[in-house]
Amino acid sequence: MPTKKKILIVEDDQFTVKLYSNLLADAGFDIISTPIASQALELAKREKPDLMIMDLMLTDGNGFEVIKEIRQDARLKKIPIITLSNLGQETDINEAIKKGSNKYFVKSNTRFEEVVEAVKELIKK
């Protein structure tokens, strides 16, 4: 049986994490998560996820910096990153893409199926 692909969720809202975990687990993925921006890098190094899902407004920092740090780390820079945020302004979207996010979804304007499709597409690459 092939190993399940692993997704690291960096999100500080517990309801959101529960929801993502259930939806992505149903779609066949293994889920790990952290609500703490400063732990994201260490967790990524240890767990080597196949993809990361990032929120931008985190309790202890901003997701933009985490994306930037991931892209600057030789061992992690190739991990695909999906930003799932409710910041919908073009400046935020452009900033996340500029820092290295592969996809950006405004949560409340996106159906979860679209996110699952994007996860599958990015992991396949």
Binding site: D13, F15, T16, L19, N22, L23, D26, M57, N86, L87, G88, Q89, E90, I93, N94, V106, K107, S108, N109, T110, R111, F112, E113, E114
Partner: protein, 397 residues
């Protein structure tokens, strides 16, 4: 001869009556005689009075950047008592400029010297200056080279407009948009996804009554989300320089995403969405997110105001260098005497309010703004209680 032409930099600044260029006649001054070239352009008494009456600060410098003259407004803006506190001092010392990010400006990258050294006018550069009391102000700076009768640059005139209040308002708006985005959308998005999950039957089979309640809840949340999106767009639109991220966009792909998005909504209104020609691969030049908003708004409207059990018809056609998207419905239509208001902010026709109480009156306003941003056109044909067709012209890629 005395010439004082006004050059509004753009329509926006023209509204505020900003002066971005002034010419001087040539004569000599005692005050700063030793600091200027004998042929340096001079402010006459009449022009001096006129410049003193302006709300924008004016500072005249020689080619070394030393202040030779100024008006009262610049003293007020920078917090100095009188002109003598400024004259004979280097402009960069007086202003202590930094760029918008707070990085100090030096002689090497100052627009003032760019203007002097290259003989060009530089309009509306945003800078932060430090006032005499140490507080910071935001300013819009325009520098115009001053030339002598041999057309040689001998200095520059700096026109400084204090935009601190506008900047603060912009920051409040950005903060509001961030807070509203995060605090309103997060719970909305979570509950919508939770309902989607339940409706997918993955966690367990729902009975008809449960499904019906969840369908209604989803519809209500969708409406609320639309309201939040519309209010945020309208908050930002007039103030932010939204620029399209020009891309090659496959309209068929965008349409199919919108189609999927609107399935629940169409079912709830008991209408169908039909594509006339089978998803043609038309490529347009536009911002994909804007196109999605535009198409979604138009189809959503068509659904909302359609008669029960009718069909929304979608079509894409190529016409020369344009691609036309059209969306027609059979429904309440737009009354003849309301047609001219249909793209106005917060406008809703009476028949629309009667049919659907929950609209914001912002959808078509936002749609038209986005279409215009993407160099497109929008128009419609409508007869009350009959067919309404909206057309949108995009640039073909």
């Amino acid at each position: 001869m005395l010439i004082i032409p006004f050059y509004p930099a753009n329509r926006q600044s023209a509204k505020f009556g900003q002066i971005t260029g002034v010419c001087y006649n040539i004569c000599e001054s005692k005050k700063t005689k030793n600091m200027r070239n004998p042929t340096f352009p001079e402010i006459t008494k009449e022009v001096g009075h006129f410049i003193d009456s302006l709300g924008d600060g004016v500072l005249v410098v020689n080619k070394g950047g030393i202040a030779l003259d100024c008006n009262r407004a610049i003293c007020n803006i920078l917090g100095y008592k009188g002109k003598n506190d400024l004259i004979k001092h280097p402009a960069l010392t007086l202003l202590s400029p930094t760029d918008a990010e707070g990085v100090p400006i030096t002689k090497k990258n100052a627009v003032l010297f760019d203007s002097i050294n290259n003989g060009k006018k530089i309009v509306n550069t945003i800078r932060q200056f430090i006032k005499k009391d140490g507080t910071r102000i935001w300013a819009s700076l325009t520098t115009t080279p001053l030339k002598d009768k041999h057309n040689k640059t001998e200095g520059a005139i700096m026109v400084i407009r204090d935009v601190t209040k506008e900047k603060q308002q912009e920051e409040y708006r950005t903060d509001f948009a961030h807070i509203a985005s995060h605090s309103l959308r997060t719970p909305l998005g979570n509950v919508m996804w939770a309902i989607e999950y339940l409706l997918s039957n993955q966690p367990g089979q729902l009975n008809d009554k449960q499904k019906s309640y969840l369908d209604d809840s989803y519809k209500t949340l969708k409406n609320m989300n639309r309201l939040v999106n519309d209010l945020l767009s309208v908050t930002n639109m007039p103030y932010k320089k939204i620029r399209p991220n020009w891309q090659k966009v496959n309209v068929a792909d965008v349409y199919s995403k919108v189609y999927n998005d609107l399935q629940y909504y169409a079912q709830a209104h008991n209408v169908t969405i039909e594509l006339a020609n089978k998803a043609p691969e038309y490529f347009i030049k536009a911002d994909e997110n804007h196109v999605r908003n535009i198409i979604q708004n138009i189809i959503e409207n068509a659904i909302r105001y359609a008669f029960n059990k009718s069909a929304i018809k979608i079509n894409f056609e190529k016409e020369g260098k344009y691609t036309i998207f059209s969306c027609s419905n059979l429904g309440i239509g737009i009354p003849e005497n309301k047609k001219k208001f249909i793209f106005a902010k917060f406008f809703r026709a009476n028949n629309a309010v009667n049919k659907e109480g929950d609209g914001t009156g912002l959808g078509l306003y936002i749609t038209k703004e986005l279409v215009t941003l993407n160099k497109g056109k929008i128009w419609f044909e409508s007869e009350e209680n009959k067919t309404t067709i909206f057309f949108i012209q995009f640039l073909t890629f």
